[in-house]
């Protein structure tokens, strides 16, 4: 799985951080999401799928390999 993140769309709702804290964080000055690991381990895939599904701005795209 590869995580693609469309930064200009991000509204910093923080839902991805709550769903998958090992894969997403937020930038200190404006809350915009940061991808910590764009090829997460299989154990994290469910969390990452949830993060993509709850992102209100549809800024997270997953390329399943």
């Amino acid at each position: 799985m590869r995580v693609e993140f469309d930064e200009p769309k991000c509204v910093a709702a923080g839902q991805c951080v709550m769903a998958a804290p090992d894969v997403f964080d937020q930038r200190d000055d404006d809350g915009v999401a940061i991808v910590l690991n764009d090829t997460p381990d299989a154990a994290l895939h469910d969390q990452v799928r949830e993060a993509a599904a709850v992102c209100p701005a549809a800024a997270i795209r997953l390329v399943e390999q």
């Binding site: 509204v11 910093a12 709702a13 951080v17 200190d28 404006d30 915009v32 209100p56 549809a58």
Partner: protein, 409 residues
């Protein structure tokens, strides 16, 4: 054309009254439209008939569609009330009335205090505030009003501290904001309270500009000094944060307690599993879905033609999204009338959806997680002090809530 006119003629008035026997669920008309008329029309206060979208999947698609605008200055925008329609042309650009990319710029100036790690850092303080309020309620007379004892003061104290208002000003701050939000205030009282609050925030802003500390108003003052936002934008945002941070969380605490008292099996479950943060977090999502307190719809205007289920929403048409419709859409949530704290509920639209989704949602989640995991465990005998039918609901606002919640233990 005939079809559209016919449907507009029969458009039900919106907002709609709920059935008194199930005050937590959306009105029967909303649910009927979700099932049978997904691109329907409603009639609002000015006689206009905006489109009415209630299905979960449709809201998800459209609330991220750039052909829908939140620009309240466009002619035909379906305003919430007459007074909002009158004031809209005078509003500065805010996160609540701009589209991307301007919205993106504005929102990025106010996100920082509400990001997950910042609100998580507040959790111990929120716990301490709640524990003190529970001690005080338990030491006082029975029955007590849970709205005044817990529901309102928790978010008031938290938002006051986040903004950086000095402790000794808290009473003034609480009184003015309460008068502003109370459903019992006259329009004059509300306007006076609004001016008092704005004056208060204005002074606070000047004091924090001169002597900054670690709080949101100081942060905004620094952004104004740096030229990232105007003083007007900062003060409008500070008022909005205060107002949005009060009524909504207070309603969720009081209504959530009432809903749990009506569903004792779910209340027992929450008591048993209150030390499991994952369970509690999901319980909060389910209560957000079940209650969906914002009940006057979120509103947009089409900037281009949009086809949906064979109907064309024309450029310039108003569109209303009824959030409770989506949260009670049986296609997304099976048996939506059932409060089930174990169901996966994260996809609810209680905070809206799209770029304008609630700014304070992470803070609300932490507040509600602390309250729901603590209150009923510390007061295991908590019970209604009046029959359910006598609990006074406040249905008039943007979000519904309770005027009082008489409880005993």
């Amino acid at each position: 054309m005939t079809d559209i006119l016919a449907s507009a003629d029969h458009a039900p008035l919106y907002p709609m009254r709920r059935e008194p026997q199930c005050p937590f669920a959306p009105a029967a008309t909303v649910r009927e439209m979700t099932r049978e008329n997904p691109v329907g029309k409603v009639r609002i206060w000015d006689g206009s008939t905006p489109w009415f979208i209630t299905r979960h999947a449709d809201q998800r698609a459209l609330l991220n569609d750039p052909r829908l605008s939140i620009d309240e200055k466009r002619p035909g925008y379906p305003h919430m009330t007459r007074s909002r329609a009158a004031s809209a042309p005078h509003h500065p650009p805010l996160i609540t009335n701009t589209d991307p990319p301007e919205h993106t710029r504005l929102r990025r100036t106010v996100n920082a205090p509400f990001m997950v790690k910042r609100v998580e850092a507040l959790r111990p303080r929120i716990q301490e505030v709640l524990d003190t309020l529970i001690d005080e309620m338990l030491a006082g007379p029975k029955p007590a009003d849970l709205v005044q004892a817990i529901g309102l003061p928790v978010p008031t104290v938290v938002i006051t501290e986040i903004l950086g208002a000095p402790y000794e000003d808290r009473l003034l701050f609480q009184t003015a904001s309460h008068a502003l939000l109370s459903h019992d205030s006259t329009p004059e009282q509300a306007r006076d309270a609004g001016q008092k609050l704005f004056g208060y925030l204005s002074n606070l802003f000047d004091a924090k500009t001169a002597e900054p500390s670690d709080d949101v108003v100081s942060e905004m003052a620094a952004r104004v000094v740096a030229g990232d936002m105007s003083r007007e934008e900062a003060l409008a945002m500070a008022s909005a944060i205060l107002i949005a941070g009060h009524e909504t969380s207070a309603s969720m605490i009081s209504l959530g307690t009432l809903a749990l008292l009506r569903n004792p099996d779910q209340l027992d479950l929450l008591r048993e599993r209150g030390d499991d943060p994952k369970f509690v977090a999901n319980a909060v999502e389910e209560l957000l879905r079940y209650l969906t307190i914002v009940h006057t719809g979120i509103r947009r205007i089409a900037s281009d033609d949009i086809e949906l289920h064979g109907t064309v929403i024309k450029a310039g048409d108003g569109v209303i999204f009824e959030l409770a419709g989506a949260n009670y859409d049986a296609e997304e949530f099976a048996e939506p009338d059932k409060l089930d704290l174990t169901r996966p509920a994260r996809q609810h639209h209680a905070f809206g959806y799209g770029a304008h989704q609630c700014l304070g949602q992470s803070l609300a989640r932490v507040e509600l997680q602390v309250v729901y995991s603590t209150l009923y465990r510390r007061i295991p005998t908590l019970a209604l002090a009046v029959p359910f039918e006598e609990v006074p609901f406040a249905m008039e606002g943007v979000a519904y809530g309770l005027k009082a919640l008489p409880v005993t233990w």
